[in-house]
């Protein structure tokens, strides 16, 4: 196969530029209140769409395994908080469910 380096550089450029432009051009500018509200709502809207429905398909062979892992994250996260235990725990729970269903 011929080298992929030009492809990689192309991908890098189209990934980097959209990440950079808003930082350079919005910056300190005064923005209307409605726009500010919109930008402030982006994180929540993004998280919702990044998690659902992808999380249900994280283990395509047995979706219930990923769902069990997410269940652990929700329960632990709501009652104890933190991030590391919910993340590692979800992997462990998913692993156990997959293992039990071979």
């Amino acid at each position: 196969m011929k080298t992929l380096i030009p492809l990689i550089l192309g991908m890098a450029a189209v990934t980097y530029v959209p990440r950079l432009i808003p930082l350079l051009f919005i910056g300190n500018r005064k923005i209307p209140q409605r726009m500010d509200g919109f930008l402030k709502c982006i994180p929540l809207a993004a998280l919702g769409a990044l998690i659902i429905p992808g999380a249900f398909q994280a283990t395509p062979d047995l979706p219930a395994a990923a769902v069990a892992g997410m269940g652990f994250t929700i329960v632990y996260g709501l009652f104890r908080g933190g991030i590391i235990v919910p993340v590692l725990g979800s992997v462990a729970v998913t692993y156990c469910v997959l293992l039990a269903n071979i």
Binding site: I26, A49, A66, S90
Partner: protein, 231 residues
């Protein structure tokens, strides 16, 4: 209020934990697609965008040309434009020269962690969080490429949940604190499920449409609530 180095590493560490398995999976897949170690490393080191790298590998295997793959990458990663726009309102105090390297590290997870970091975002904080993510992503990809074959299949499969668990763990304190946050996030997820099911938008654009619609509705309620307070 600025973030101390320890606090920055503590904020970045969960991304590290979430990225290593995902990156290892990328390395394993890359090796399976017959690309070289150098190319695998460069994918992660200069593109640094999880989902689009996996998609690029898939497209390579199906025989798509570089033009199509670059275009797909642009579409898939365009959501970061919105995320950068959202973060920019909190980074405006920094000199422009810092924004160039900073922009490179704005991934979904870095964006999520920074968005919910309280107080003014210092440049050191942003760079340290990004460095945690970057080192895990690049290191994990190379490790996956070299050592991948040794990982039990079930373990690498179960690692697929790590990134979702990370995003979920970032979201939970917000939805616990505010009903509005819960409603926004859930409606975005429901809308995305529907759009994915309809299957009319290119990959990555369902998320963009969700952000545009849900954040617009959210901003409407925010300004409405503010006006209520003023009355």
């Amino acid at each position: 209020m600025k973030q101390k180095t320890g606090a920055s590493l503590k904020a970045g560490f969960p991304i590290f934990i979430g990225y290593v398995p995902a990156a290892v999976a990328f390395g394993i897949l890359a090796k399976g697609c017959d690309i070289t170690l150098l190319e695998c490393f460069l994918f992660s080191a200069v593109v640094f965008a999880g989902a689009s790298q996996f998609i690029a590998l898939n497209l390579l295997v199906t025989g798509m040309g570089p033009g199509g793959i670059v275009l797909t990458t642009l579409l898939v990663n365009f959501r970061h434009f919105l995320m950068s726009a959202s973060l920019s309102t909190r980074l405006g105090h920094l000199p422009k020269r810092y924004l160039f390297p900073m922009a490179f590290g704005i991934t979904d997870e870095v964006f999520s962690v920074l968005s919910f970091t309280k107080g003014e975002l210092s440049k050191t904080h942003v760079f340290l969080v990004e460095l945690c993510a970057y080192s895990a992503w690049v290191g994990g990809s190379v490790a996956g490429f070299i050592l991948g074959g040794f990982l039990p299949e079930i373990l690498s499969k179960s690692m697929g949940v790590a990134l979702y668990a990370l995003l979920l763990a970032i979201l939970l304190p917000e939805v616990k604190a505010s009903g509005r946050a819960l409603i926004l996030a859930i409606s975005s997820g429901v809308l995305n499920t529907w759009l994915v099911h309809l299957d009319i938008l290119p990959k990555g654009w369902t998320i963009i449409v969700c952000i545009l619609i849900v954040a617009s509705i959210g901003s409407f309620f925010m300004t409405w609530e503010k006006e209520e307070e003023l009355l």
